[in-house]
């Protein structure tokens, strides 16, 4: 019942000759294939303060009043000053927009929206058919697998599944995570992600002192007869160690080829730094086609507007995504890249008594890229029509969202999410 997370490890040896067929380059032109960059807003991002419904502002403001004093509502004056209002037509300037507004700290993203590079997906979430959709574990799991009610029954993600069909190319796995963690969304039945953490230059072999050298350690990893069976955890550790040793050389070549000295400052921001490492690998020509980064801190049960919480987080994310996109645009590579955000769930419209919000349902997702058809998709939930738990009704099933992205990667989404979730058409 419980699935092991052991997966086939690509590149058990560095030799491309021994690569399984699916690892080799496919007919599609690798130079123009989509590179998908997925960013998890970890903890459940409050959609209502990320995209403010100017058309429902009265109701919004009422709900965001903190009992006992104060309010979580974003002020219209702040929106006007920042110039982050927008309409479905991305050409409408902020000063004339009346429908929605990005949080005032998201000016960088608003600028990209004005260029038609951003699709804003409203009211996206997990349907009530999943009764545990307001728990972190289930919310993240559903988004990662493109399914509902499957916790404990699968460990395959939708991006991983896509690459089971598409295959990979080159000496690295088709996907990579840059935050030390190996996320479910990148795991397929036949492929696993490369996992990097920190600066690319740290991805090296640290060898023992006293004369031990890496060759001794690495050379001993090549035999797969040591452990009794492929399912044995020792064999998993051996295969992982062997694969890692093989990847180090490849990653270091890319790191040297693209040192990223001209990338804007990432000081103090983990998400900016993660995106910088992704940018370096793209610039260096790594064959990886899907990347994963994450930004934590969105579980804002209390003091949601205090320093370091929601406003600063979405501002940081906006800056991080914009600088990443602009950097690649300057290198002539933005044609290939599609950035998407996802989050466990949205939050409750009504502020709670500790100036925060509890777990909710629908939230907002952004998709950014030259290939994206800028504008508004989905439907902003009706704040006057809340369910018995005080939550909004979702307008777009998250699996529709995934359908567009799987299509962008280059394969049919139906085997992954089923046939009931047609694309929204933002790419």
């Amino acid at each position: 019942m419980l699935f092991s997370r052991r997966r086939f490890l690509c590149g058990a040896t560095a030799s491309a000759m021994s690569m399984p067929l699916f690892m080799r380059a496919l007919e599609a032109d690798a130079a123009t294939d989509t590179i998908l960059v997925t960013i998890l807003q970890d903890g459940g991002c409050d959609g209502f303060n990320t995209v403010v419904p100017l058309g429902q502002y009265g109701k919004y403001s009422d709900l965001r009043t903190v009992p006992g004093g104060g309010s979580l509502a974003v002020l219209q004056t702040d929106i006007a000053t920042a110039g982050t209002a927008f309409d479905a037509n991305y050409l409408t300037p902020a000063s004339q927009a009346v429908s929605y507004a990005l949080h005032p700290k998201m000016t960088a993203l608003r600028a990209l929206y004005g260029q038609g590079k951003v699709a804003v997906l409203m009211g996206v979430g997990i349907p009530p058919a999943d009764p545990s959709r307001t728990s972190h574990e289930v919310g993240k799991f559903d988004w990662a697998t493109g399914s509902i009610n499957k916790l404990g029954y699968t460990n395959i993600g939708w991006i991983g599944q896509a690459f089971d069909t598409i295959g990979g190319s080159g000496a690295l796995p088709p996907s990579a995570s840059v935050n030390y963690q190996s996320p479910i969304v990148l795991h397929g039945r036949k492929n696993s992600p490369l996992v990097i953490g920190g600066d690319l230059s740290n991805f090296t072999l640290p060898c023992g002192s006293g004369g031990a050298d890496c060759a001794t350690r690495v050379g001993a990893l090549n035999s797969n007869d040591t452990f009794p069976s492929p399912a044995n955890p020792g064999e998993f550790a051996r295969a992982l160690s062997s694969a890692t040793a093989g990847f180090v050389g490849v990653v270091q070549q890319y790191a040297v080829a693209a040192p990223g000295a001209d990338y804007p400052s990432t000081v103090g921001s983990s998400i900016k730094s993660q995106l910088k490492q992704i940018a370096r690998l793209i610039v260096a020509g790594a064959p990886t086609r899907a990347y994963y980064a994450s930004q934590g801190g969105y579980d804002t049960h209390s003091a949601q507007d205090s320093a370091g919480h929601h406003p600063d987080l979405v501002g940081e994310l906006s800056d991080a995504m914009a600088q990443f996109y602009t950097y690649l645009q300057g290198k002539g590579l933005s044609q290939r890249v599609v950035i998407m955000t996802m989050t466990d769930f949205g939050r409750r419209p009504q502020a709670n008594s500790t100036s925060g919000t509890d777990h909710g349902t629908a939230s907002v997702s952004f998709v950014i890229g030259d290939r994206v058809k800028g504008g508004v998709y989905g439907q902003y939930p009706n704040l006057s029509s809340l369910d018995n738990n005080g939550n909004v009704v979702i307008q777009v099933d998250f699996r529709n969202h995934i359908s567009d992205l799987v299509t962008a990667l280059g394969t049919d989404p139906v085997p992954i999410v089923g046939s009931s979730y047609p694309k929204l058409g933002f790419i």
Partner: protein, 682 residues
């Protein structure tokens, strides 16, 4: 290698791993029902006794005890064991065969009684399994073995597994009385079993201490560890760095470190040097289960108090533990229940963070469970939720009104008396409350906590949820449903007992499945590091002095590098999810381990101890223990200490590396073992 063994009462076959020892005794067992024991040993009466059931045991093969072998001719009572050279052989042969019966819940229904070879033993009512042991001459256990049999409904007289047909009495008549049938052998409780036990129920130990436990008997060690207050730990008190209680500010408490560093160092010191190893491992389990990060709590007194509560309640009663944790200042701060106001729930709903995680992560989980932890499904095959959003709201309301008191002004006195918690009835939402269909009365005082916890803990999902997590952490990431169900029965039978968790831990390690899946789980960084230090005799460190507090020299820095500091879990989801320990091994995290293995192996020195290190690994002593400085001797010792003997490949690698002289390059040899796949798994 697993072989399938079928239990007639169950519908599925249970895979049982064969024990990994070189020689295994074979005990042919004949289970005969309704036979009166009469006649000389070796014969059976052949007469039905209404309602009576007997067990007949015949021994064959040899029994290996300690490092020697027990000749068959002397029988189980006459085993003469030869032990390792460091210990003199016992004066007289030993090895009485004893047996006891347990019922379907794993509870003893008889006491251990001597079983003469080829004699009959009465099977008491309610017995479902029989366990055998070979005892030493003083009654202590030497290298026990288990022959386990389930009571099944089967026609008598049929030859069973491992039994020759000729040993079955032809006069045993066919009838429907239940008979015993041998279903599995847990194998000899070998020294490898002891290494397994010490690493799962503690942080491992040196080869010498492993041998000592083996001779005393694993059961003896286990019984001692389940009663930690009776274990003398005064040596640790002399060793441990004190928590400074006075300082110029809460951040810098001794003029050098801030309290966070000291907090981390102290728990590391306990894990390295405490004799109450199971208590420390259990405390680690609970701190990962209730993962609380100091990063948000930001209070020394709160964290000290929290750690002490976890340790005090670690082997006690689960409901008590959860109730105590719920009102810890650290927990109030961590999950926003501090000052959570329930006075106007309609217009000002209270924060639900703690309520939700209390149910989802701490007590019962998201789905309804059967007693074997399989999910309860609806008609369409979907799992049923264990609680609803309405229940989350009700629990959130019920637990309003608590506030931690401020711990300052400075200087700090004993933090336990300063950082308390107050209950304000005016901020408490008034009950009664309905929680998962149960009505909970409310007298407007802190007793509401115990009532709420009681309802949640008595939910049918709780025992399997908690038990499965214990099994996943201490035994195997894929426990069989049968194992879960057996332990759930022990949990439920002790649900109000003050030593409930000790009883459950005892049952877990006394079950044959405890030893069925060795080297089966990835080590987390804390285990990776602390085990290595203890295995390499690093527990014999010196007391912390002021010069030792540089980050480079601290084991703390190793754990920090590997991203597992005890009090800094990345989120409420702790360092890893139960059953997903492999998530700790990714490409980059593996390289991090290799890097920190450099730091660990660098602690070794052959001449002088690291004057500024909080933990030392004295290789001069190690080589003396290895019995020599040759490459072979040192390799053998490192293999035994770190990887339970390891594999021929690793042994050859290390021995070749050490070359002709074991004294040079020993740091590198240690690094090679620490970075081996063999070492990555527990």
């Amino acid at each position: 290698m697993a072989r399938l063994v079928c239990i007639a009462l169950a519908t599925a076959c249970m895979a049982v791993a064969a024990p990994a020892i070189a020689s295994e005794p074979t005990f042919a067992t004949t289970f005969v029902s309704g036979v009166t024991p009469r006649g000389a040993a070796g014969s059976d009466g052949g007469v039905d006794v209404r309602g009576g059931r007997y067990l007949r045991v015949t021994a064959s093969g040899s029994v290996a005890l300690g490092y020697g072998a027990c000749p068959r001719a002397t029988g189980p009572q006459g085993c003469a064991a030869a032990f390792s050279p460091a210990r003199s052989a016992p004066a007289s042969p030993t090895g009485a065969l004893v047996a006891a019966f347990i019922n379907a819940s794993g509870v003893l229904v008889s006491s251990w009684a001597t079983v003469g070879e080829a004699a009959y033993v009465a099977i008491p009512p309610g017995a479902a399994r029989v366990l055998f042991r070979v005892n030493g001459s003083t009654g202590r256990e030497f290298g026990a073995f288990h022959v386990v049999a389930d009571v099944v409904n089967e026609r008598a007289g049929r030859a069973v597994q491992g039994v020759s047909a000729s040993s079955v009495s032809p006069s045993a008549t066919r009838h429907t009385q239940p008979v015993m049938r041998a279903v599995a052998t847990g194998g000899l409780s070998s020294r490898a079993d002891v290494q397994h036990l010490l690493r799962r129920y503690g942080f491992s130990d040196t080869p010498a201490n492993v041998t000592a436990v083996y001779r005393a008997g694993a059961g003896t060690w286990l019984a001692q560890q389940l009663n930690p207050s009776a274990i003398d730990d005064s040596a640790l008190a002399a060793y441990m760095e004190p928590m400074p209680l006075a300082g110029t500010s809460p951040q810098t408490m001794n003029g050098y470190d801030d309290y966070r560093t000291i907090l981390e160092r102290r728990i590391i010191q306990r894990e390295v040097a405490s004799k109450r190893q199971l208590l420390e491992k259990m405390t680690l389990h609970w701190l990962e289960h209730f993962a609380v990060s100091e990063d948000k709590v930001n209070s020394a007194p709160a964290m000290i108090h929290y750690e002490e509560t976890l340790r005090t309640d670690a082997l006690g009663n689960f409901k008590t533990l959860v109730s105590d944790v719920s009102v810890e200042p650290a927990m109030l701060l961590w999950l926003d229940n501090n000052n959570n106001d329930g006075s106007h729930v309609a217009t000002s709903p209270p924060n639900e963070n703690f309520s939700r995680e209390l149910m989802q992560l701490y007590v019962l989980g998201t789905t309804q469970l059967n007693a074997d932890a399989t999910p309860v499904l609806d008609g369409s095959g979907n799992p049923l939720p264990a609680y609803s959003d309405q229940d989350v709201k009700q629990v959130a309301q019920a637990l309003t009104g608590f506030q931690r008191t401020e711990p300052y002004p400075l200087p700090l006195a004993d933090p336990r008396t300063i950082d308390g918690v107050k209950f304000f009835p005016t901020r408490h939402a008034k009950g009664p409350f309905t929680i998962i269909g149960q009505s909970v009365t409310d007298t407007g005082d802190p007793t509401i906590v115990g009532k709420v916890v009681g309802v949640l803990a008595n939910n049918s999902a709780t025992a399997p949820f908690e038990v499965k997590e214990l099994l996943q952490r201490f035994v195997t990431e894929s426990p069989s449903p049968g194992y879960v169900a057996r332990m759930v029965a022990v949990w439920n039978a002790n649900v109000d007992a003050p030593d409930q968790l000790a009883k459950v831990m005892q049952a877990i390690a006394s079950d044959p499945e405890f030893y069925a899946d060795k080297q089966s789980v990835v080590k987390e960084p804390i285990e990776y590091t602390i085990d290595a230090i203890r295995e390499l005799n690093g527990a014999q460190a010196v007391p912390i002095t002021a010069t030792m507090r540089t980050p480079y020299n601290s084991v703390h820095s190793v754990l920090s590098g590997m991203q597992e500091q005890h009090w800094y879990p990345p989120s409420v989801f702790s360092f890893y999810r139960p059953g997903e320990k492999e998530s700790l091994l990714t490409n980059s995290l593996l390289l991090t381990r290799w890097g920190e293995a450099v730091a660990l192996s660098n602690r070794a020195t052959l001449t002088t101890l690291c004057a500024n290190c909080d933990v030392n690994i004295d290789f001069t002593t190690l080589q003396a223990l290895a019995g020599g400085t040759s490459a072979a001797a040192v390799t053998g010792y490192l293999m035994d200490a770190l990887v339970d003997g390891g594999t021929p490949e690793l042994s050859a690698l290390v021995q070749n590396y050490l070359g002709a002289n074991g004294t040079t390059n020993i740091k590198g040899a240690v690094w090679l073992v620490l970075t081996s796949p063999e070492y990555e798994v527990n």
